[in-house]
Symmetry: C2
Subunit: 206 residues, 2 copies
Amino acid sequence: MAYRETPRMRERKAATRQRILAVTHERVATGGFRNASVAGIAGDAGVAIGSVYRHFDGKSELFAELFRNATQREVQRVAEALEQPGSRQQALQEALRVFAQRALRAPNLAWALIAEPVDPLVDEERLRYREAYARHFQSALEQGIANGEFAPQNPRLASAALVGAIAESLVGPLSPAAADLSQDAASQLIEDIVQFCLHAVQPLGG
Amino acid sequence: MAYRETPRMRERKAATRQRILAVTHERVATGGFRNASVAGIAGDAGVAIGSVYRHFDGKSELFAELFRNATQREVQRVAEALEQPGSRQQALQEALRVFAQRALRAPNLAWALIAEPVDPLVDEERLRYREAYARHFQSALEQGIANGEFAPQNPRLASAALVGAIAESLVGPLSPAAADLSQDAASQLIEDIVQFCLHAVQPLGG
DNA sequence: GAATAAATTGAATCATTATTCACTCTTTAG
DNA sequence: CTAAAGAGTGAATAATGATTCAATTTATTC
């Protein structure tokens, strides 16, 4: 026998794998999954096309893993905001702000994660992603409804509607490109959105 | 000279053109623009592939025209509801209901019109479509804000958020497939959505 | 019926991308 | 240094789907 995988090689391979994921992220964040061809990714990562297939079983698997990584981070941030003890209104407000801020900072990425059609493997991940959001928002809404901080309503639907309202406001073609917004205008937009969403779930009494 | 276009032929051509548009609509309503290949369209319409190109300059133009037709109808319905005189709340409620009902009845079409990425020509039309919606919703909101029926808010943003909330609630993967809903469940879903949206724009006092 | 012009056809072509695989290059162990 | 085994390569292949166009058919006029 002669060749055996060493820690050195294992690390190097892991680094390449990471690099491929990183440049894919870059491409998706710039122009969506459509913009992420295998040839382009390989080029950006400085490896041959075939090498991408050495690290991933195929484009779908690469995309699915990327999606999982990216969304995990997003959901994590929102979940943290919602897990703050105390007023459900304040927790929801903060979570919405986090969601909106992150989406506004990377609108193409947000769109790719929320809505862009890609392929069945990614769709599966997306389902999990949405369910994760729904779980968090929904439970905060349920708690708030129970303690009177929010109006009685269908929490599952409201959670979807909140996500939709934010997504459309931020990434829909109606909104000016995020890049063109001044810092102030961006903050104002986020505050408007958060206000709209909070208002939507609050009891009519205030 | 010998051949000259006669009314008979003109009609026949127009009929074929219409048939192509109709089967394209059918396909888009079933599985989105992705499902509408030129070969499939030609087959459905009972003409050769090449004939599609006799009636349309290309797939993009065919799609753009189809999109224009389909959205015109949608916007028209919503606009009619909003143009009812009297309470802005009631008008908005009715318009939201119409929007939601139509989207729920043809969720794939709704998704194709609202969000599916297709090509730049369609994107242009989509921009107009959204602007048309925005104009109508926005002006109703502005009137309602002015007369105190709605809470003071950014009407442009609220209009986008309303569209997003409905779209996500209805066509997002969280919602069960529309086909599986009983008549009652569908009505309930629509009422919940309308309630959410109305609540979002109402003054806190009620 | 013959001549003409337009309409129709669909196989061939072009374009785009994912995927493969025979080959070369590197790394490792002895 | 050499042999073995894995890693890396990228031209070739495969799959999909839009578009073209030479040949054919059909409609019209005289």
